[in-house]
């Protein structure tokens, strides 16, 4: 295989990878099995790294594979695995001017900016906040763009098509409910998409080589890569064909050098060069590649140490005050509700990268991106919104798909004993109390009968029943809150457990199953 075949190969792999990941976020019918999702996302660097550091499980070792790959062949990740990288390539491809050989040229690296952003990300992580990492992680950024911006468009088309087909009496498609709108997340997604798109049109992969912390980290690793692209000075005529197709702007034809830390391994140059002057060069490890000092490398080593130290500190954070919901709401929850498998709000907010995959995958759409419920630094991380829906008792999809380990996988049995919050009853809001009519919607939906209906004595002697909460076997699924019909304020709501607890098993009494089928009907 000639080196010029590498570009079509890279394009093929990236398109497949991109399509699979995009599908996970747009899967309106929830077709993808969680195991498929895990497989597809195995290599996503930041989620995998966080998961690996959190669990040290081999199944989460995708990030190590990525580093190894980079040690051998440079930033292959950035042109094949990274969905945000491929998104830029797609935008760049669509907006290219036909007939011109290329539009890029060598650009000087923005070292100061690049390493400042990287250092800031690492330092904040050290301090226990993944805020900047979450904002800049390319996978999560991509996830937010697809969850918050692209999915609604796809959903709109689906619903239009469904309505059209239903007119023809065909019900193969169905209308899908709109998710709760999360303006802050949509805005952040837009603030990622617009600059990334604009830069990809104007400056190729400048975003990846300046802003993206994964790009920077892998760039540093690729400085020790064994096989890297080089220019054979004896064959190169200096025609600049390669430089013009290099979206990373890392080929310097005057010097006949390639900045390996910025090369995203797209292999466009192999295809462009008519003289086969570009080749893979093997560098033996340990041999300095040139006389220049390597400040970046030193900084990398330093940062690595800080990074690891920072991660080690993740587990034991200083106490964070969780903001309660605005006090203008008379239903005053003391804590928001974090998804099952998140263990505690602290642990959750420090490991979740807000990629919104669980938000897209949640069949009941009870998971929504938060605004300030988890505090400013926890913005966009998903919370349970029981106004919109309730958590289906047997469902564990969010814990199964979470790529970063912010939600640890729970089987149905464990999930059904995980108390993420507790139902609290406000009798004064309850329709049984105010109107003296039966309701019981809350108890209807309760899967454990933690919300039970008990006789409610009343002056008119009506046969009324009113809810009573047994907090021990409540798991905080929100069925009661979602079903409660009172307006504007609910009579029952779930108050989050900042640290999840274990609920008691529901009370189960033996029932007499004996039936005499020969007995006469009672009428």
């Amino acid at each position: 295989m000639g080196l010029h075949h590498l570009k079509p190969l890279r394009v093929g792999v990236s398109v497949v990878m991109f399509s699979l990941i995009a599908f996970l976020f747009l899967d309106l019918r929830h077709i993808a099995a969680p195991s498929v999702t895990r497989g597809v996302l195995f290599l996503q660097f930041v989620p995998s790294l966080l998961r690996f550091l959190g669990t040290a499980a081999f199944g989460a070792a995708g990030c190590i594979g990525v580093v190894m790959l980079t040690v051998f062949f440079g930033r292959v990740y950035c042109s094949t695995v990274c969905p945000l990288g491929t998104l830029q390539d797609v935008i760049s491809f669509v907006t290219r001017k036909k007939g011109k050989g290329g539009r890029f040229k060598w650009s000087n690296p923005h070292h100061a900016l690049r390493y400042s952003i990287f250092t800031l990300t690492v330092l904040l992580l050290t301090a226990g906040s993944g805020f900047v990492l979450n904002l800049l992680d390319p996978f999560s950024g991509f996830g937010r763009i697809f969850s918050n911006l692209v999915r609604p468009v796809v959903l709109a088309f689906n619903n239009l098509a469904a309505i059209g087909l239903e007119r023809l009496d065909v019900h193969t498609l169905y209308q899908v409910r709109w998710a709760v709108i999360a303006p802050a997340s949509a805005a952040v997604a837009m603030l990622t998409l617009v600059p990334v798109a604009w830069l990809s049109v104007k400056r190729g992969r400048l975003y990846c080589n300046t802003v993206c912390p994964v790009g920077t980290l892998l760039g540093l690793v690729s400085k020790i890569s064994l096989f890297r692209i080089g220019i054979d000075p004896s064959l190169c005529r200096g025609c600049r064909l390669c430089e013009r197709v290099c979206k990373a702007g890392c080929i310097d034809i005057r010097e006949k050098t390639i900045d390996v830390s910025r090369c995203v391994a797209c292999y466009n140059c192999f295809t462009a060069c008519k003289k086969q002057a570009l080749r893979f060069e093997y560098r033996r490890p340990g041999r300095a590649s040139g006389a220049q000092p390597e400040p970046e490398r030193r900084r990398f080593m330093l940062n690595s140490v800080i990074w690891v130290a920072g991660i080690a500190g993740l587990g034991e954070q200083t106490e964070k005050i969780i903001q309660s919901r605005p006090t203008t709401i008379p239903v005053h929850a003391t804590s928001p509700v974090s998804p099952p498998g998140s263990v505690s709000i602290d642990r959750f907010t420090s490991t979740c990268t807000a990629c919104h995959l669980c938000v897209s995958a949640c069949p009941s759409q009870v998971l929504v991106p938060s605004f300030l419920e988890f505090g400013f630094l926890g913005m966009m991380q998903p919370r349970m919104n029981f106004q919109a829906a309730h958590c289906n008792y047997d469902c564990t999809i969010c814990t199964d798909v979470c790529p970063s380990g912010a939600l640890i996988p729970l089987n149905a049995e464990r999930k059904q004993l995980t108390q993420i919050g507790v139902a609290r009853f406000i009798k004064e809001n309850c329709v049984v109390h105010t109107d003296k009519t039966n309701c019981g919607a809350c108890s209807e939906h309760c899967p454990t009968k933690a919300v039970n209906m008990v006789p409610y004595p009343n002056p008119a002697n009506k046969a009324l029943v009113i809810p009573e909460v047994n907090p021990d076997c409540c798991i905080g699924c929100g069925g009661c809150e979602h079903a409660c019909p009172t307006k504007p304020f609910k009579a029952i709501y779930v108050d989050g457990n900042p640290v999840h607890r274990t609920a008691h098993k529901p009370v189960v009494e033996k029932i007499d199953r004996k039936v005499d089928y020969n007995e006469d009907f009672p009428f």
């Binding site: 329709v431 009519t437 019981g440």
Partner: protein, 304 residues
């Protein structure tokens, strides 16, 4: 032509006018079925499909209720994400057999839906009903988007004077109601009339505005051609969702009638309750929507 225009065309009138017509449609249905040999059939001691075959034969056969070329809507209870043996939903075998009977009688198409309480795709799947419907040759349709529901007037309602109703109900020539009999935390029991809550969009309104009265009010909107009460697995407590298999007694019974008030009354008796203690049954009888006095009915009692 927008959706609304389309609906106007299909049901031949304005939104509210459409309601009157839909009621008219019901009247036509009831009129179309000749008087049955008995008012109510109660069966016990066999599988749900076998019991239905016997019951419908006793009522004169499915052809009496399903004209050739008609569009049939079968409305089971698919409210909860629980398997069939938990008794939270109508038994899939019963739903399948009803569909097969309709198709054999010459129905053009048989549709099934429910506005579920738990997440709808999981309910459809885990109740076993989606599979059963497809295998029986029916089509299972979503009830999960407000867009499917059209506002209609409920002229005789006192608390519920209008409701948003699934368009398939307005479009159907024949409506077969297939509730499951079970305990219910809000309405004491849920049977036939209560099952109609699953054809409307805004259930919250009912809960807020005297649930029993709303159930009876909506019953006045129209009577299903047939009500088939599934009492095979009966949830005796912790309803309507149930907590475990320990809530369920295998009563292996079924009640079929053209009168849903009578069907509900008989099912209540079967459960061990008195019909007059279930307020919506009493209200419906008082509104002359059917007969609650079982002694006045001719009942075919079948033990298998």
């Amino acid at each position: 032509m927008d959706r609304r225009d389309f609906l106007k065309k299909t049901i031949g009138g304005g939104i509210v006018a459409g309601a009157t017509l839909a009621v008219g449609g019901y009247a036509k249905l009831v009129a179309a079925s000749p008087p049955a040999s008995c008012d109510l059939v109660a069966v016990k001691g066999a599988e749900p499909d076998v019991m239905f075959d016997r019951a419908i034969a006793s009522l004169g056969g499915m052809k009496k209720f399903v004209p050739r070329g008609s569009k049939v809507l079968v409305k089971p209870n698919i409210g909860w994400d629980v398997p069939p043996d938990r008794g939270g939903n109508t038994h899939p075998k019963l739903v399948a057999r009803i569909i097969e009977q309709c198709l054999n009688a010459g129905a053009k198409e048989v549709s099934v839906f429910d506005h579920t309480c738990d997440q709808w795709t999981q309910c459809y799947k885990n109740s076993g009903i989606e599979r059963a419907v497809k295998d029986a040759g029916g089509r299972i349709v979503s009830g999960d988007s407000e867009g499917y529901y059209q506002t209609v007037a409920v002229p005789k309602g006192t608390r519920l004077t209008e409701a948003k109703v699934h368009e398939l109900l307005l479009d159907a020539d024949v409506f077969i109601n297939v509730p499951v009999l079970k305990h219910h935390s809000s309405s004491t029991l849920t049977i036939g009339m209560k099952n109609l809550m699953g054809v409307v969009w805004d259930r919250w309104y009912w809960h807020r505005n005297d649930l029993h009265q709303c159930i009876a009010d909506f019953a006045s909107f129209g009577r299903p051609a047939l009500t088939v009460v599934d009492a095979y697995h009966v949830m005796k407590r912790n309803g309507p969702r149930g907590v475990s298999l320990e809530d369920v007694v295998p009563m292996k019974s079924q009640i079929v009638s053209t009168d849903f008030v009578a069907a509900d009354a008989a099912a209540a008796k079967l459960f061990g309750a008195e019909p007059e203690d279930i307020r919506h049954i009493q209200l419906a009888a008082r509104m002359n929507l059917g007969r609650m006095d079982l002694k006045a009915l001719s009942i075919d009692r079948i033990k298998l």
